[in-house]
């Protein structure tokens, strides 16, 4: 059950390596340079440059009016951001950690997500809420939540999360440019992931709402996003080799969703129709997590193509564990391959009625 984090294939080259954190910082910097209405603020984003250093240097370059340390109050941050957006600015705010966005939940859900709708488009909310999320970095309690289920269930928000260095830049630029509020979830444990990426010529990436096939395959589809993308790619590599009782390797397709809202049904459905089998992988607890929606939706659209139910590999239905136990919680390569193995490869399983109280029941 490895939880090691590896770079996506593209990152293997080492010519001009940049980290995801650096790419995010470049995105903020370039957005501020291009548009004077872009304002960055939050706790410690100024001289400290944020606890993950993503805003490093912005106050120095653009002054404290453009990149501003706020008082310590998340509802205040999101509420003033809403007000600034009402006056035509494009605020980009930072919540310091996932769980520390919760104090601002009412402002996000009751106002930011609904203001455009409420005012029939007269008061759009072109603001971006950056939230470092997820575990795997040994953070103590309240520092490793995967809170995407809350935001997905809130109409009016976009929910975006990059898994590669290029996407970190491209998707953050697109989020800031969006005329709608975007919850931009930054996978904490990928902040230090590296790729060959040139800040002078950041490569173009597909826009918000487009999933990408990170690895082509024919046996089954792994559907994932954010911090679990590298894990799934690793699992796909491992699956190529022989395994189990001398069976042949599986050729797994890996889809990086990139945005949970809007959800790219087409790309996912096309893949699952081709492979006939799918596993959704994420770190967030399984129960009522993103995987439920994804599995249900795919099943609605691909029912007669499916050889097996869409399975889910997710975090357990527990509060995020303490650092010394987190490896047990995080979906790792072995757990993903176990799920793939349960996708009813034996022909007997394809008979109606043959599957019931099987191993799959309590997987998530």
């Amino acid at each position: 059950m490895s939880t090691a984090v590896r770079q996506p294939a593209a990152a293997a080259a080492d010519r001009k390596p940049a980290t995801m954190g650096q790419a995010l910082r470049h995105a903020l910097r370039d957005a501020m340079a291009d548009d004077p209405d872009v304002h960055v603020f939050g706790e410690d984003v100024g001289s400290l440059g944020g606890v993950f250093r993503v805003t490093d240097g912005l106050t120095a370059e653009f002054g404290p009016d453009r990149c501003t340390d706020t008082p310590l109050a998340e509802a205040g941050i999101l509420g003033t951001a809403a007000g600034m957006a009402m006056y035509g600015l494009r605020p980009v705010v930072e919540m310091q950690f996932d769980a520390f966005a919760y104090p601002g939940f009412e402002q996000l859900v009751s106002h930011i997500s609904r203001m455009r709708n409420r005012t029939r488009g007269k008061l759009p909310m072109p603001l971006t809420v950056r939230i470092p999320y997820g575990g795997g970095i040994g953070g103590v309690e309240h520092h490793s939540d995967s809170s995407e289920a809350y935001y997905m269930a809130t109409p009016g928000l976009h929910v975006v999360t990059p898994a590669t260095v290029a996407d970190a830049y491209g998707l953050l630029r697109a989020s800031i440019a969006s005329d709608d509020p975007v919850v931009f979830l930054e996978p904490k444990r990928l902040y230090w992931s590296k790729a060959d990426w040139d800040p002078q010529e950041p490569e173009a990436v597909p826009g918000i709402g487009r999933a990408v096939v990170r690895r082509r395959g024919s046996s089954a589809t792994l559907i994932t996003y954010g911090p679990s993308v590298p894990v799934c790619l690793e699992a796909a590599e491992a699956a190529r080799e022989e395994h189990g009782d001398g069976a042949e390797g599986w050729d797994l397709e890996v889809i990086d969703l990139r945005s949970l809202v809007p959800f790219d049904e087409e790309t996912v459905a096309a893949s699952v129709r081709r492979t006939g089998r799918a596993v959704v992988v994420h770190e967030s607890p399984g129960f009522a997590g993103p995987g439920g929606e994804i599995a249900a939706r795919i099943t609605e659209r691909c029912f007669h193509y499916l050889e097996a139910p869409v399975l889910r590999v997710a975090g357990f239905d527990i509060p995020y564990p303490p650092p010394m136990l987190e490896r047990h919680h995080l979906p790792g390569v072995d757990r993903i391959l176990d799920a793939v193995a349960r996708l009813q490869w034996e022909s007997g399983f394809t008979e109606s009625g043959g599957f019931g109280q099987g191993r799959g029941g309590g997987a998530v």
Binding site: P71, A75, T80, H111, R114, R118, R120, K122
Partner: protein
């Protein structure tokens, strides 16, 4: 240039060199709510200030007379099923009207659900203002055009919006102030605290008007706070707190104008507590007899904002019967027009449910809009079929 330079940061020196940053005394409210109406003798003698301008008095008078009538009309519309709900500001007309008239052209108002009258007094179309409470949409007027934010339902959440907007204006170099309205109950919410603190630290041109009407639905002020007054909260943010008689339109107007001028000039925010009273129930759906006595209400009726103002105008010889009649007739006309317009069914388009959720509807929303359209067409078809079947039958019967 930065607007965010800290005015006199704390010296980091340890005690005993360390001292409170500013003198608290000037931030504390007066020991008695500021009043103008009925104090002419005492006040001019005391401070030599000129009495309130006659033109202003007359404008305030016309507006409170209209406001009173507007409250009555809106309440009546609930009984006629033309409004889903109405939280009346009867008894608080002075605050509402003074707030509207104190605002500069470019200033913004951030009202709560109870502050329809303030929006109407600012000149907005009352039918558009009532949209939320009528239920045809969540919000009915053009906020950027009118510089009135949507009527806000989640308590105190509009305050950080006001701070953010005023801060943005200041960053852009515009001389814009924001006036945010909140109730006594709303001051207990965390958002009140956070908004005032942001405004104070950033010296934002925002003014906070607490209409302390004695109740948060059924909960009296004594269960809401133990503070000497709500205005005393200001010192905890390092901003001035003002206490004013909220039924005295002239006093409220004066205090707000002063605070807004100071705000626009870069002098920072002010917290104003207007002591007033909600003469009617919380909304038409509420039963106020469960939590207060008629006697209590009676005492406040004696201090009615409309009467106070009318008395002053009469005392100063500014009010003849013609003016009274004129104001009342104007109010009546406006009420009649409102009634008539509200009796027409509002245009409704179910497709709007999907149109404004995002700048571009998602694929899922487009599908859902299609689904609803198909359902409605089917509904119409079967209604038409039923009707034509019915009319045939009816025709046959009369034949």
């Amino acid at each position: 240039m930065t607007v965010l330079e800290q005015p006199g940061a704390y010296a980091p020196a340890p005690p005993p060199s360390w001292r409170p940053r500013t003198d608290a005394a000037p931030l504390l409210p007066d020991a008695e709510p500021y009043r103008v109406l009925g104090t002419r003798g005492t006040r001019t003698a005391q401070d030599g200030a000129p009495g309130p301008d006659a033109g202003l008095l007359r404008r305030l008078y016309a507006a409170v007379v209209h406001g009173r009538r507007f409250n009555e009309q809106a309440t009546a519309l609930t009984r006629q099923g033309r409004l889903a709900v109405y939280p009346s500001s009867r008894g608080q007309e002075a605050c509402q009207v003074a707030a509207a008239l104190a605002l500069g052209e470019r200033d913004w108002l951030f009202p709560s659900y109870r502050d329809t009258l303030a929006a109407v007094a600012r000149g907005l179309d009352p039918v558009e203002v009532l949209s939320l409470l009528r239920g045809d949409w969540h919000h009915g007027y053009d906020s950027p055009g009118t510089r009135v934010a949507p009527l806000c339902t989640p308590l105190a959440t509009q305050l950080p919006h006001a701070v953010g907007l005023a801060h943005a204006a200041r960053l852009k170099g515009d001389e814009v102030a924001a006036l945010a309205l909140v109730g006594d109950g709303g001051t207990s919410e965390g958002d009140f605290h956070e908004a005032l603190n942001f405004a104070a630290v950033w010296q934002t041109p925002a003014v906070f008007l607490v209409q302390n009407n004695g109740f948060a639905i059924s909960v009296p002020l004594a269960k809401q706070t133990a503070a000497p007054s709500l205005a005393h909260k200001a010192v905890g943010y390092g901003i001035p707190g003002r206490l004013v008689d909220g039924n005295d339109a002239v006093a409220v107007h004066e205090v707000l104008c002063e605070a807004l001028d100071r705000a626009r000039a870069g002098g920072g925010p002010t917290l104003v507590e207007a002591v007033t009273y909600r003469l009617e129930a919380h909304t038409n759906a509420d039963d106020a007899t469960r939590y207060r006595t008629d006697q209590e209400v009676e005492v406040w009726r004696e201090h009615d904002p409309v009467t106070l103002l009318e008395r002053e105008l009469r005392d100063r010889g500014l009010l003849d019967e013609a003016t009274v009649r004129e104001a009342e007739e104007a109010a009546e006309r406006q009420a009649a027009e409102l009634r008539e317009r509200m009796h027409q069914d509002p245009p409704l388009d179910p497709a709007e449910l999907f149109a404004h959720v995002y700048a571009q509807p998602t694929r899922q929303l487009r599908d859902q809009a299609d689904q609803l359209r198909a359902e409605l067409e089917a509904e119409q078809r079967s209604a038409a079929a039923a009707q034509s079947a019915g009319s045939t039958t009816a025709g046959e019967e009369t034949r």
